[in-house]
Subunit: 132 residues, 2 copies
DNA sequence: CAGGATCCATGTTGATACTG
DNA sequence: CAGTATCAACATGGATCCTG
């Protein structure tokens, strides 16, 4: 039945546009890290800040807001002093965990391969340039 | 045993940095679309261009080069006239298919939820601003 | 057909400083 | 602690024109 190549191509054509927008949030540079880090349970702002390494306060805040806005994170403020804010995944976001871990696992497994591939690609590009 | 929260946080801290770089390529705005479209078999440039909808020639080329450089795509040039170029996934990239489909499936299932969540979030934000 | 090259508008990120 | 505000640097993306 209709699982020809045209079929899939059309599916992407028709739905990837809004889908792209959705995927961008989920699969953006920092989102995966945040989502994975928050998967263990409620996480505090500072915990995330340290867990995600290269992220700036600004970017963390922005991403948290976006994820909250899209219904992936719940932000809980405890009106104590000093302030305490916890972020946790919504059920919808929890459904992502498998795919996200899959992605992270893949990245871990193939990090070296990718580095190698890059070096090889760059080397042959240089060769082509040097071939005069 | 050691799957405490500190454990996971450290794992992310130590490895997410280069990992982030890897994930960016895979999870970038267009990469998923390209990878999914190419999963069906060799795809030509123009096929991709039409399949991915909003993408420009420039962005498609750039992304194809990056994916090729990272060893996720193989570019095959047929020296015919007019030229014919096909892109196909490497075995490494094929391993991603499950996770990627999972992501796409999730996005499809929850697109409406996300739209709703956004509207709700924005509405309450407006309320707060209007509450003078 | 499948790009490469260039210019320019825009968005994204980081650094820094300040706050309830 | 958990942000917000502002500015400057940089990357991203689109439009346009050109080519083997």
């Amino acid at each position: 039945m209709s699982h020809s190549r045209v079929d899939v191509a059309e599916r992407i054509d028709n739905e990837a546009c809004p889908l792209t927008e959705v995927l961008e949030r989920v699969a953006g540079k920092w989102s995966i890290g945040i989502l994975v880090a928050a998967a263990q349970g409620p996480v505090r702002f500072t915990e995330l800040e340290r867990a995600i390494a290269g992220i700036s306060r600004r970017m963390l805040t922005l991403n948290l807001r976006r994820l909250e806005r899209d219904g992936l994170l719940v932000r809980t403020v405890y009106p104590t002093v000093p302030p305490k804010v916890e972020y946790s995944l919504t059920p919808m976001a929890r459904e992502l965990h498998t795919s996200l871990s899959g992605l992270v696992g893949w990245a871990e497994r193939h990090r070296a391969d990718i580095t190698t591939a890059r070096a090889a690609y760059d080397a042959s590009a240089v060769d082509a340039g040097t071939a005069s």
